[in-house]
């Protein structure tokens, strides 16, 4: 059993107390002395030429300090993209400039055109109404396939077309895959859309820029998942501010889910404007504004073909995807449909030949980037849906078809360039069958039938690659930065510890879970350890939190730094105990000379490290603080098997989730309670994607679902209790904790389970239905049943 408060304990979260009492410190809770407010006047047209901007009346209005337009930023860098994809012909992707404020053209509804800085937000808003915009509406490019037509209007006039890249992977396999598909006994084909989503963390984005004239230092408070990345991108590529003059702070952040990874124009604006007007400048995004300015997620249109032999063995897989980039390239956008998607197309299966083609397309919509899972949910969804259809077509049980194609030997090198280190897909499948009580399904289906409802069951597997990422590898794949993580462990004189970590916590509970690891290693109480994160002036470097990387990468850095601490502390203890270093053992916070009862406590050693009377000064520097950088050797590969049971009301098409079960393999677990919570949250979002959520644009590029009235967020009565289990554990072999990451699994594994279940329910009712596109709203399901 785990030591109390150490690795494996469901320690209650210490951060909860401040959140439960209203004492959280979110960015919007911060106000600077003398701060001014900015309001962004955004384009209401999806595509428009900016012929003129008349701010003269607005400038005279009460409280207006200054009005900025795109002209003010022509000398300033644009919002940079952090990943360059090379297309299948060896050419770099097309990469348009993304100005801080629109210049020349506005390219999506929500593109900021003017920024009004005023004494109060109300005054800024009032002044915005007095600005006269002379916009000439241009035809909007919305549908991806039409965007690629020769005669399509262009989102960026300076580019050749609306095609960002045409990516093929693995290009050398292309012909072999074509051939295998042509000659196969059976090919199952499915066309589907992975619906466009909006991440919607409950805290909207906020930025406060400050400038100190005495030191020339800029400070930016921002709702970011990775303040150091913002410092790097904004400092180096946008505003030209060296790191030692730029401090970025992300205090308590109210959820991220990917959309708070990216560097946004508003952050750069507030930083720039604070110096220009010599006042702190604060921006608080309204929810309506968030809908048209936070990067969206997903939005893939895919055709997938799975070739099998007569026994159902997978022979080849071919996919053809159009991926929406929106109007500009957001920070990680190009990597999502490529390296975070194509490399996962093997799934849990030993398909020998795979070819993935992705055309990334510019449209007059909000930029699209990573949202919880990022690329991996798109991969899992199409694969698990096509397998379900294949099982039906081949007359093989869907679970058996999966099992017979499972990868069972590890390490396993997939044909899509990654190597799975560990996994046991049969184990998670067995566990899922048990916790989902599949044996009891028929009985429950009969009960549903008695109530006039159609019951269905959907199962699926998933795999993801997280613990992002091996720097060298991602560099070869186009990442413009390595993706290691760092940690500094500072032991204070009396033995308490501050850990400076580059990982950022915005709901994941690092303040509780990370100390559990250190407490376990040192044998001290976790309450002795505090986590410091989210401030570039306190934490030397960090790449932040996304891709379920915090514990696998950030935690590993912390372990390495703690190992260095232990090594040094042992040297000090050896000196104090007049023993040889090799004989010193650390257990339960005591350093003992092996085989004797001579020992010295943790606190005595730490005190000696700082204020010694008796210290080996010739051999050892005083002090006890160590930093480690950790670069993972590989991705980690969490996997699992999910089951969803639904009831469909044949009268209305309404789908109700009756049961949801998830059996995951996350490797080792530090805090099971937190892991469960992460899975619950992911499943909630996955059910949202499957049943409720969709960002809808009309042909003119207006976002129809631009508020919570129209964009259906999952609510408490849309979801059931979930049954989750992570007792199947095949520890990661290449990080010191053996952990794999759990943040995205639920969102990756759940959408196919839901759709498989609904299709199953309709099929059992005698309907010849093979697919319904998400979200499975009552009207879509009802219509499918009528056709």
């Amino acid at each position: 059993m785990p030591a109390d408060g150490g690795i494996g304990a469901s320690t209650k979260r210490r951060e909860d107390v401040r959140f439960l009492t209203g004492n959280g410190n979110y960015t919007d809770d911060i106000n600077a002395n003398g701060q001014a407010y900015v309001y962004f006047l955004r384009s209401e047209m999806a595509h428009a030429k900016i012929n003129g901007i008349d701010t003269s009346d607005a400038e005279k209005m009460d409280g207006v300090i200054r009005i900025f337009t795109g002209e003010d930023f022509v000398e300033v860098g644009g919002v940079p993209c952090g990943w360059e994809v090379t297309d299948r012909f060896g050419n770099a992707m097309q990469e348009p400039r993304h100005p801080i404020l629109a210049h020349g053209k506005a390219r999506h509804v929500g593109d900021p055109i003017c920024a009004i800085v005023a004494e109060t937000l109300e005054q800024a808003r009032d002044a915005a109404e007095a600005i006269e915009l002379d916009l000439e509406e241009l035809p909007a490019v919305i549908d991806m396939k039409s965007a690629l037509a020769k005669d399509s209007p262009k989102v960026h006039d300076e580019l050749e077309s609306n095609l960002c890249y045409d990516w093929g992977f693995v290009e050398e396999n292309r012909d072999a895959v074509d051939e295998a598909i042509k000659n196969a006994h059976h090919v199952t084909t499915l066309e589907l859309r992975n619906n466009r989503l909006i991440a919607n963390p409950m805290e909207p984005r906020v930025a406060i820029g400050m400038f100190d004239r005495t030191t020339d230092e800029h400070t930016l408070y921002t709702t970011s998942q990775n303040p150091h990345v913002i410092r790097l991108l904004m400092g180096a590529f946008v505003l030209g501010i060296p790191e030692h003059k730029l401090r970025v702070i992300s205090p308590d952040v109210g959820g991220g889910f990917g959309t708070k990874i990216f560097h946004y124009a508003e952050e750069a604006f507030c930083t720039f404007a604070a110096k220009a007007v010599n006042r702190p400048v604060k921006w608080t995004c309204s929810r309506s504004e968030a809908f048209v300015s936070d990067a969206h997620g997903r939005d893939h249109v895919t055709k997938i073909e799975l070739a099998m032999d007569k026994d159902g063995n997978f022979l080849a897989l071919r996919t053809d995807t159009h991926a929406n980039m929106g109007a500009y390239l957001s920070t990680f956008a190009p990597s999502v449909p490529t390296w975070l998607h194509g490399t996962l197309m093997a799934g849990n299966y030993k398909t020998p030949l795979i070819y993935v083609n992705v055309k990334a397309v510019f449209t007059n919509t909000v930029p699209v980037d990573a949202y919880r899972g990022a690329g991996r949910p798109e991969a899992s969804f199409q694969l698990e849906r096509v397998i379900d259809k294949a099982a039906h077509e081949m007359g093989i049980d869907p679970i058996e078809l999966r099992r017979q194609n499972f990868i069972t030997e590890f390490p396993y090198a997939t044909p899509v360039a990654v190597e799975y280190d560990t996994g046991d897909y049969n184990a998670t499948m067995d566990k899922m069958i048990e916790i989902a009580d599949l044996a009891g399904f028929e009985k429950r289906a009969a009960e549903s039938a008695d109530n006039g409802k159609l019951r269905g069951i959907g199962v699926n597997c998933y795999i993801e690659a997280c613990g992002i990422a091996p720097s060298n590898l991602v560099g070869q794949l186009g990442a413009r930065a390595g993706l290691y993580e760092s940690a500094t462990v500072r032991v204070n004189a009396t033995g308490s510890i501050s850990v400076m970590t580059g990982s950022h916590s915005h709901g994941q509970g690092h303040e509780t879970a990370f100390p559990q690891v250190i407490a376990d290693m040192l044998g001290i109480d976790a309450s002795q350890v505090d986590i410091v994160h989210g401030d570039t002036s306190k934490v030397p470097m960090g790449m932040g939190t996304y891709g379920s990387r915090s514990l696998a990468v950030g935690g590993s850095a912390m372990v390495r730094a703690t190992e260095k601490i232990i090594n040094k502390a042992k040297k000090i203890a050896a000196h104090l105990l007049e023993a040889s270093e090799g004989d010193i053992e650390l257990k339960d916070g005591q350093f003992t000379v092996a085989g004797t009862d001579k020992s010295v406590a943790w606190g005595d050693v730490t005190l000696a490290a700082y204020v010694p009377h008796n210290y080996p000064l010739e051999d050892l520097e005083p002090g006890l603080e160590e930093t480690a950088f950790y670069d993972p050797a590989n991705f980690t590969y969490p996997s699992g098997a999910y089951a969803c049971e639904v009831e469909v009301d044949p009268e209305t098409g309404k789908v109700t989730i009756e049961r949801f079960s998830a059996a995951d393999d996350f490797g080792n677990i530090v805090n099971p309670m937190i892991v469960d919570g992460q899975v619950h949250g992911g499943i909630g979002q996955g059910i949202g994607q499957a049943l409720l959520e969709q960002a809808v644009y009309d042909d003119d590029g207006q976002l129809i679902s631009g508020s919570y009235m129209d964009y259906a967020m999952p609510r408490a009565d849309d979801v059931p209790f979930y049954t989750v289990d992570h007792s199947c554990q095949t520890p990661c072999t290449h990080n010191p904790l053996g952990v794999k990451g759990c943040g995205e699994a639920g969102a990756i594994g759940s959408p196919p389970a839901v759709v498989n279940a609904v299709v199953d329910a309709l099929r059992r009712a005698g309907q010849d239905i093979t697919h319904i596109d998400m979200p499975l709203t009552p009207s879509r399901v009802w219509q499918a049943m009528q056709s």
Binding site: S10, K12, R13, E15, D16, V17, R18, F19, L20, T21, G22, N23, G24, Y26, D28, D29, N31, E122, N200, P201, M202, E203, P204, D252, V253, G254, G255, F257, S286, R287, S288, H506, G507, Q508, G509, M673, I674, D676, G677, H680, G681, G682, G684, Q685, I687, S707, Y708, M709, M713, P714, R715, A716, D717, V719, F721, Y722, T723, V724, D725, G746
Partner: protein, 161 residues
């Protein structure tokens, strides 16, 4: 600007408000009670929930001047003076009913009024009652569980925590 006076968490307070100042704004910017959060601008998310004269209210749907003379309670008034968490707060911590914490003040205030109206709500009653409060982090599982626990119900049979 109008002078507005109200009792917030048992203390008489006053401040200036424009006619268009929302109660949520007044609490946050006027009184510095930033526990009340603003998550939307269409009265849909419930992050701003407070009690006004004992009733659950989304404080973004009410002007500050409408609350003149009212008794308002916010999440800051939930714990005891000495910091001891209320039963509801304890249950949320015990059952991991919060992650990022942004929806949490609204959830706590909604729970308080739910349990005042219905001391032993069923799962379905809890889910229905919370339909005005969005949480993006938890998938609601542990929120519902925490509320059942706060109402004294045995939650040990509810899967996984």
């Amino acid at each position: 600007m109008t002078q507005v006076t109200m009792t917030v968490n048992g203390k008489a307070v006053s401040g200036e408000a424009e006619g268009r100042t929302l109660l949520s704004q007044f609490l946050r910017d006027g009184l510095g009670l930033t526990g009340t959060h603003v998550g939307c601008d269409t009265s849909q998310c419930g992050a701003c929930s407070v009690h006004v004269n004992g009733k659950l209210v989304k404080s973004c749907t009410m002007f500050a001047i409408e609350a003149d003379g009212a008794e308002v309670s916010t999440v800051e008034g939930e714990a005891d003076e000495d910091g001891t968490l209320s039963t509801i707060q304890q249950a949320f911590q015990e059952h991991h009913g919060l992650q990022c914490g942004f929806c949490t003040p609204g959830m706590v205030m909604a729970t308080k009024s739910l349990l005042a109206e219905n001391p032993k709500p069923t799962e379905a009653e809890i889910r229905a009652y919370l339909s005005g409060n969005i949480c993006r982090c938890t998938g609601y599982h542990n929120i519902v569980k925490a509320i059942m626990a706060a109402s004294g119900q045995d939650v040990s049979a509810i899967a996984a925590e």
